[in-house]
């Protein structure tokens, strides 16, 4: 039971909004010590785990300089202008369309997208632009919610599409797990059973995007009417 101390520290730390890095390192040291590791071993585990997962950091580091440069020269504004030209596109449409593209492409093994490479430079500004033309007086809070939904579309689309493709980590991991347990479970049968939930996830996103559009329209109901006539 005492081994669960790390989970307790993490939960408490995140709840009290202590610096998350500090929480995680403390949880690691506490769990390690309770589990009978020496300080040196814990430090080594920490270092090994950190280096093994450098691949999480690499895409961000490779992409950010270019994105920063393009942003400085107006990429975000261009993406917003592009969507403003489509008169009837709403923020919900943009986000839902991205969800569909993301789910379908990743389910055939095409993994493009990502928060740094697609959401910040392209999708979030497009959704923002659409929201602004739906309702020019939109509050900053709701605009933040639009951006948050764009990120949610990235996550939901990727998570509930990738396990339909047999060569991704998740499916292979499950297959290997059963193999180690001495059971024969086919890659394809695991992958195909990801489809029902993928469809359910898309329905849920449709519902959320509909609600988001409704919130945007409701917030600036009066202004909205006049604005759409003008543009």
């Amino acid at each position: 039971m005492l081994k669960l101390i790390g989970i307790g520290i993490v939960a408490l730390g995140f709840a009290c909004e202590v610096n998350p890095l500090l929480v995680v390192v403390l949880a690691g040291f506490a769990t390690g010590l309770v589990g009978g590791m020496s300080l040196h071993t814990i430090l080594m585990e920490l270092g090994t785990g950190f280096v093994k997962n450098r691949s999480i950091l690499l895409p961000v580091v490779m992409i950010l300089p270019t994105m920063g440069l393009l942003e400085k020269y107006g990429l975000k504004i261009q993406a917003q202008a592009l969507i403003r030209k489509m008169k009837h596109a709403t923020a919900g449409h943009v986000i839902l369309a991205y969800t569909a593209i993301r789910q379908i492409s990743i389910s055939v093994g095409l993994n493009f997208g990502g928060h740094a490479s697609m959401i910040r430079p392209v999708i979030a500004p497009m959704a923002e632009g659409a929201a602004l033309s739906q309702n020019p007086t939109i509050s900053e809070k709701l605009l933040d919610s639009v951006k948050a939904h764009a990120s949610a579309a990235e996550n939901t689309g990727a998570f509930f599409g990738e396990d339909i493709f047999i060569a991704v980590g998740g499916v292979v991991l499950m297959h290997n797990f059963f193999e180690a347990e001495g059971m024969k479970v086919g890659l394809w049968s695991i992958a195909l059973w990801g489809i029902p939930t993928a469809l359910a996830a898309f329905c849920v996103m449709t519902w959320r995007c509909y609600l988001l559009d409704k919130r945007i329209a409701l917030e600036g109901y009066e202004v909205d009417k006049n604005a759409t006539k003008k543009c």
Binding site: I7, F14, I56, P65, K72, G74, L82, F159, M174
Partner: protein, 316 residues
């Protein structure tokens, strides 16, 4: 054979340049701490493989202390993009370099694995997507430099601006993964699986299935990673209680169990790279904004997934 190592080196050196740039702006406590943080991160990225694991561990603890000091943050509140934009009108073609990165990433990972030099694979196939993405990023950088005629130091300036916007949250995902390895070696998973089996009437089939899905989601929320949860919870609850005791279909159970775990990822602050880091990247006022947007999504998908699983797992 080409591996990711050269890209780690490039990325690491870039982070060190960012540190130099921050340090060059002044010598306040904030700049010292911030520059040291990015320099240490650059060193672990570039030389992580050759350095002793305990030394890297020490660097990590040092970075965490610097972050906890509260000095690793952007200098001034980030101004709105519109004020900063240069008046040069490059139009919509700016989007092409941005799209180069994902497209080269996709095409590259399909093509690169098929290229053979003297019969040996030219690149490490398990790392192919990331290597291709690296090439895409380099190509996009060159293209956008040509297009904008920006001075050579501009990518470093813009990069360090964005790095400082994200701040220390950038290492949280890696740190959580490291925590996961410590949890695994200390045997945390077995304790949890034991608790569930003792406290629930798992002789009823749907209770066993529900326990498995909830276990996947809860353990994923705690660990921030569904893969880490999968082997622990499937070995502890899924296989003995659903497949062996009630004859459930293992393929359906595993596939949807993993997806139940992903629902946990959507609402877990431990899965920082999917919510806290993008929230910083999008400059949201509320750092939990994405988690809040995803909570109803995750709940709805979890219920749908559980319903389909209970309906299908004993029928097919």
């Amino acid at each position: 054979m080409l591996t990711l190592e050269p890209f780690y080196k490039l990325g690491g050196f870039f982070l060190i340049l960012v540190a130099v740039r921050i340090f060059g702006n002044g010598r306040t406590a904030r700049q010292w701490c911030s520059a040291l943080f990015w320099a240490l991160l650059g060193v672990t990225l570039a030389y992580g493989k050759v350095l002793d694991a305990a030394v890297v561990g020490g660097c990590v603890v040092a970075m965490v202390c610097l972050a906890a000091s509260g000095y690793v943050k952007a200098a001034e509140p980030i101004q709105s993009q519109k004020n900063k934009t240069d008046s040069v009108n490059l139009g919509i073609k700016l989007i092409y370099p941005a799209l180069t990165i994902p497209s080269v990433g996709v095409i590259g990972s399909l093509v690169l694995t098929r290229i053979k030099i003297n019969g040996a694979a030219s690149i490490d196939s398990s790392q192919a997507p990331l290597i291709a993405l690296g090439f895409g990023a380099l190509l996009a950088l060159l293209w956008s430099m040509r297009m904008t005629h920006a001075p050579i130091k501009q990518p470093v300036i813009e990069g360090s601006r964005l790095f400082e916007v994200i701040g220390y949250a950038i290492i949280l995902p890696q740190l959580l993964a490291a925590l996961g390895t410590i949890f695994t070696h200390a045997g945390v998973g077995q304790v949890i699986a034991g608790l569930v089996t003792q406290s629930l009437p798992t002789q009823i089939p749907w209770v066993a299935v529900t326990a498995y899905c909830v276990g996947m989601a809860v353990f994923t929320i705690c660990m921030g990673n569904a893969y880490a949860a999968f082997s622990v919870i499937t070995a502890g609850i899924g296989l003995p209680l659903v497949v062996k005791a009630h004859g459930g279909n293992p393929a359906i159970l595993a596939s949807m169990g993993m997806l139940a775990g992903y629902c946990g990822t959507l609402v877990s602050p431990m899965a920082a790279n999917f919510n806290l880091v993008p929230a910083a990247l999008l400059e949201l006022k509320d750092r939990n904004g994405i988690l809040k947007a995803q909570l109803p999504i995750a709940l709805a998908i979890f219920c749908a997934n559980l319903g389909i699983l209970i309906f299908c797992v004993f029928r097919f």
